[in-house]
Symmetry: C2
Subunit: 336 residues, 2 copies
């Protein structure tokens, strides 16, 4: 509404003086300071950050581009990010791409126009187009949750390979020999890494040829579909490894519809835990990832970059994944 000029006029000083009061810069007599402060209060003056940003070339705003905030893993991630950002006086613009490369590009274009100081990106695909786009325009970027094959970018992610290995190992240790993997899209690094961990465990157990992988999307719908396919196969697997929480839910629906009980007839384990705030009755054996911490770390990394304290080399921070054994996994049913 009112501008620095209005305040100046009311206080009978120049705009510069008002600016000095606002920013506590330079010398100002106690008396004028008070006059200015009063004028500010009377007018309800609020400095225009746009004008300021135009000069400083920084907006104190970052963009968070993820696939779907509705996935509790990403929700928690987002919370960690907003907490870390606001602590340093940064605002966060959030965007949902629904795994669409086009949406991602569109959002990137918008936030770059809006001159965000940096971008936190959960890339929708393995294309490095987005990273290139940002680099060309000098916008710092940290990748979240997912690697990008060829790109030299800062990345903060969970250890999908080790997590998948542990989870598969857990099933093998229980005695399972036919373990199906309901995976996400192979264009996404987490799906690739989870597949690798799964294979490594099978290989070690001399069961390489028993691998059975179904590729789908990281959605309930996707889990539902691939689980259907899996059930049609003979012999039926005795354990199912869902590559994320949504896939697990979709798979569980299929199993229920087929009258199969978990874990009696079939074990079902998954990547990604639910927050304890939503836990009624923890059921799934899962690999939990430190989502909140992941968000914090990524934000800190990005903000260090902005402050110019970043190491030259792109960093890759890989956070440990943790196996949490619960009731959805058990020994395979006795063979008939």
């Amino acid at each position: 509404m009112s501008t620095i000029g209005d305040v100046a006029k009311r206080a009978g000083v120049s705009a510069m003086t008002v600016s000095r009061v606002i920013n506590n810069s330079g010398y100002i007599s106690q008396e004028t300071r008070e006059r200015v402060e009063q004028a500010i209060a009377e007018l309800g003056y609020v400095p225009n950050a746009l004008a300021r940003s135009l000069r400083f070339k920084r907006t104190k705003t970052i963009a968070l581009i993820l696939t779907d905030i509705t996935n509790p893993f990403f929700t928690t991630l987002a919370r960690g990010i907003e907490d870390a950002a606001s602590e340093q006086g940064f605002s966060v613009i959030f965007c949902n791409t629904d795994e669409s490369q086009d949406e991602e590009a569109e959002y990137l274009s918008v936030v770059v126009q809006k001159q965000v100081d940096g971008v936190l990106l959960v890339p929708a695909s393995s294309s490095s187009e987005s990273v290139t786009f940002l680099r060309d325009r000098g916008v710092p970027c940290v990748l979240l949750d997912r690697r990008l094959p060829g790109a030299a970018v800062d990345t903060v992610r969970g250890d999908s390979e080790a997590g998948a290995y542990q989870l598969t190992r857990h099933l093998l240790d229980l005695g399972h020999r036919r373990i199906a993997l309901l995976n996400g899209p192979s264009s996404v690094s987490t799906a690739e890494d989870r597949l690798a961990g799964y294979r490594r465990a099978l290989d070690e157990a001399g069961l390489s040829s028993a691998a059975s992988v179904y590729e789908g999307s990281y959605t309930v719908e996707g889990g539902y579909r691939t689980a259907k396919q899996m059930l049609a196969a003979a012999p039926r697997p005795t354990a199912v490894f869902a590559a994320n929480n949504f896939i697990a839910i979709g798979a569980l629906r299929v199993l229920r519809e087929a009258g199969l009980r978990v874990p009696d007839n079939l074990s079902l384990v998954a990547f990604d835990d639910l927050p304890t705030t939503m836990m009624i009755d923890p059921f799934f054996t899962v690999i939990g990832q430190p989502a909140y911490e992941m968000g914090q770390r990524a934000t800190q990394l990005l903000l260090e970059h902005l402050a110019g304290q970043s190491p030259a080399e792109p960093q890759e921070i890989v956070l440990p994944a943790q196996l949490i054994v619960r009731r959805s996994s058990g020994p395979p049913p006795a063979e008939i």
Copy 2:
């Protein structure tokens, strides 16, 4: 990085001409247009929205200030908002207040400085300070989920009173006579309204004096604490009404620790459902609110305001709440 001036120089035209190309305004010869477009492509030029906003006095950005995005109700709300906003080319800055009035004020100040076109606010308390602050500075605002007593503001919320009435009625119909309400903070309208609905149902049943209300916060922690208090009372209630999902989780923990089974020893019902994407085994009898739609409607209302198509009178949109009966509620245990 590069500015409109750089593009102009490279294309051998003036900045104005470039501006005309970008915005498809005025007349331009096909030939110059092509030269300009090429220069834009070569430089990877992206218009600076800051400068534009400074002139137009609109940023195409809105703020979403809520208490905690981690609560699945708000997560879904946020998704509805972002979808509706991005559809119209608006970006969303999101902020978590954790029910703190101070945080709310701080965030409001920041986003007003950043010249957001409007604010979607889930007010942390019943104070109308925030609304006044925004009104004084000419920033349109729509309240979400919660009323503000004296304020004449657009509001989009669920029908807490009717929902609470239905939920209480459901328990009464099952035969319960001692129903405890574990409520949120009385400074928040939803808590007030849920209390009112609860009381209305009890009054109708001639059980006004049986009301037993515990005030806490809308958190797992809060639910845990009030549930403890409740259990200490004699005679113990046969049913518990948790005023939101988090309170229900906290209460459930207490009941479990006390060795009580739901619904055999005690019924436990709540406000707010979990999204179906997280439903493993729907257990809680709840009042579900159309969170996604609420977000959409609020955003549409705000954007209509910005477009100047708003009716003069502040609107209050109250969306229906729906009773979903599941397994956490049953008849009271037989008296000894």
